[in-house]
């Protein structure tokens, strides 16, 4: 066990903001477009440092996305950032035709993603974008797990060519990686070694996966492999196939609908290469609601407990040859 320790809490959006400044220092072609919420998605850091390379486009996500294409086709590296609820949906047509079909070097920072935007409620809780974005050809899709990874991922997407979307959140989340933790686009990382079940997660669910693995070890002596799959697309097929082959069952966990996101992406690789029982932890085809982030994680089943229970279900299905009725382990069956 790697004994990941929490070194405080910080929102991933701060990592994005700091990463942009690093990029701005390294490359004068980096420009940033604002969507009226620069102080929320932390593009304000870049704006203060490089006012000549920051352009406020107003509340116009479709326009901002397409202006970014014009800048990219002129050799610039434009970042546009606003809430994912609008940076992936209001502009989906623009992302498809103008960004991806042009293979334009446009970077989108999707902030305030997922259920943990909290009190803002369902309109602002984006839970569907991974599904949409990963079907777009040429698109790279990254969901960092904490502050340091968000910073590294921001720099990495700025230094690769092609359309990329970075998904990050509003609330402060545990910092458990550090500046030296390796990060590479398209490469999954094993955060905990294990052989009985593989837990593949992204975003804030990676920390929950680590907690689940610790509980599985402690309570049941189960050794769970925890894989941080920050890059949803292009997916690290090798890591997923190894997990299936070596652990024999998989649980995925994401702060997103169970349809079309990380779980689906992993399942696509698993069914083609090495079918094993799989459980998908995520939001179950429903809209969010107002509440505090951690409260909503509990209400919508986005904690280590659901991962723990799903791991037991997956292991049981594997051990019974995964034929026959699928018995679901309820989280009420165990106590904290």
């Amino acid at each position: 066990m790697n004994n990941f320790k929490i070194a405080g809490k910080k929102p991933t959006r701060h990592g994005f903001g700091e990463g942009l400044v690093v990029l701005g220092e390294r490359n004068e072609n980096v420009v940033v477009l604002g969507g009226d919420i620069t102080g929320s998605v932390m593009t304000s850091y870049f704006q203060q440092k490089f006012p000549d390379r920051f352009f406020s486009i107003g509340i116009a996500e479709a326009n901002a996305t397409t202006i970014a294409v014009g800048l990219a086709l002129s050799g610039k590296i434009p970042f546009f950032s606003c809430y994912t609820a609008f940076a992936a949906f209001r502009n989906t047509d623009q992302l498809r035709v103008s960004v991806c079909y042009n293979n334009a070097n446009v970077k989108i920072g999707g902030g305030h993603s997922g259920i943990t935007v909290g009190p803002d409620g369902a309109t602002h809780q984006s839970l569907e974008e991974l599904s949409i974005l990963r079907t777009l050809p040429n698109m790279t899709l990254v969901v960092p797990c904490d502050f340091d990874e968000a910073k590294k991922a921001t720099i990495a997407i700025g230094e690769m060519y092609g359309p990329a979307f970075l998904r990050f959140g509003r609330s402060a989340v545990p910092m458990f990686t550090n500046p030296d933790t390796p990060f590479e686009i398209g490469k999954a990382q094993i955060f905990e070694e294990g052989k009985d079940v593989a837990i593949i997660a992204c975003g804030l669910m990676v920390w929950e996966a680590i907690l689940a693995s610790q509980e599985l070890e402690k309570r049941k002596g189960i050794s769970a492999r925890v894989i941080n799959l920050a890059t949803i697309k292009p997916i690290d097929e090798e890591a997923v196939i190894s997990a299936a082959r070596e652990c024999g069952c998989i649980v995925t966990a994401e702060e997103h609908q169970v349809h079309g996101g990380l779980g689906s992406a992993v399942a696509e690789v698993v069914v083609k290469n090495f079918p094993v029982p799989m459980e998908i932890v995520g939001v179950k085809d429903t809209f969010g609601t107002s509440g505090e982030p951690e409260q909503l994680q509990v209400v919508f089943g986005l904690t280590w407990r659901e991962i723990y229970a799903s791991a037991l279900t997956a292991i049981e299905r594997r051990d019974k040859g995964f034929i026959g009725l699928r018995k679901i382990t309820q989280i009420s069956e165990f106590k904290e």
């Binding site: 420009v31 000549d52 390379r53 352009f55 486009i57 107003g58 116009a60 479709a62 326009n63 996305t65 397409t66 202006i67 970014a68 294409v69 014009g70 800048l71 990219a72 086709l73 002129s74 050799g75 610039k76 434009p78 047509d93 623009q94 498809r96 035709v97 103008s98 079909y101 042009n102 293979n103």
Partner: protein
């Protein structure tokens, strides 16, 4: 006409209606390009936001020497660089962007003009052509607002105002008028012309050039009153010709009217 008849599909009306403007833009010395070096860094850029009328763009690019005119016969065919709507992935020399989802070309043009004027601080120009029905797309007005906000006097927006769209006359589908007042209130230099009168087209582009030279700080829009299907008697001003090609018989008649009847080969 020849491209379209070979393709057996495509948009005849708007392509013919903008031929005069495109001829002046490409061959009147207004658009700076180098056909033997399509990516020349000093070039001006032209974007066809109304991607569906690409036959006129492909024709202009071929005549300008970006690729052999024989290739025009491959329009819309499998493997062709002349996609049904312009596609950058096919690497057609002279093509600046994929367009076809209406309205988006204007925002791309705004981004390019911002890059030229505000970041690189050069004197390059960006031209963009939209239809009139296309102005029903709301994002077009977001782009108009931004063009004016950023004082993009290096941006020239041409509206192909033939008053026709697929379902009928533009005001019968959705009233977009008064266009001049709308653009004026958005902060544009508005020039309204007869889009088939060469003197007026020339003078409009000249005015845009002057506006940019004088650093007037306002984008220019040329509202060109055009006739869909211009030059072919049975197509002129008929919105039914928006999205259809001529059949072989019609093509022969059309080419006869254009004085080019002998050149068609099947």
């Amino acid at each position: 006409i020849k491209s379209l008849v070979y393709a057996k599909s495509g948009h005849s009306g708007g392509s013919l209606g903008t031929t005069d403007i495109m001829s002046v833009l490409f061959f009147g010395g207004f658009l700076r390009y180098n056909a033997s070096d399509p990516n020349w860094s000093g070039r001006d850029r032209f974007l066809l936001s109304a991607g569906h009328i690409c036959p006129v763009l492909y024709s202009a690019l071929a005549r300008a020497g970006f690729f052999p005119p024989e290739e025009l016969a491959t329009l819309r065919k499998y493997g062709s660089r002349l996609q049904g709507h312009p596609g950058l992935d096919m690497k057609l020399p002279g093509l600046e962007a994929s367009t076809g989802s209406l309205g988006q070309g204007v925002s791309i043009a705004v981004g390019m003009a911002m890059s030229d004027k505000l970041v690189d601080k050069n004197d390059k120009k960006v031209f963009v052509l939209t239809g009139d029905g296309e102005l029903e797309e709301g994002a077009v007005w977001e782009a108009a607002m931004a063009a004016s906000n950023f004082k993009l006097d290096n941006l020239c927006w041409i509206v192909d105002n033939n008053d026709c769209q697929i379902d009928g006359r533009v005001p019968d589908v959705m009233n977009i008028y008064p266009l001049d007042k709308k653009f004026d209130s958005f902060g544009f230099n508005v020039i309204t012309i007869d889009g088939h009168n060469f003197d007026e087209i020339l003078s409009a582009f000249k005015k845009f050039d002057d506006n940019q030279k004088n650093q007037c700080g306002k984008p220019t829009v040329i509202i060109a009153k055009t006739i869909m299907g211009k030059g072919i008697s049975f197509m002129e001003d008929r919105y039914s010709w928006h999205g259809v090609p001529p059949n072989e018989e019609e093509a022969v008649l059309a080419l006869k009217e254009l004085g080019d009847a002998d050149s068609i080969v099947y």
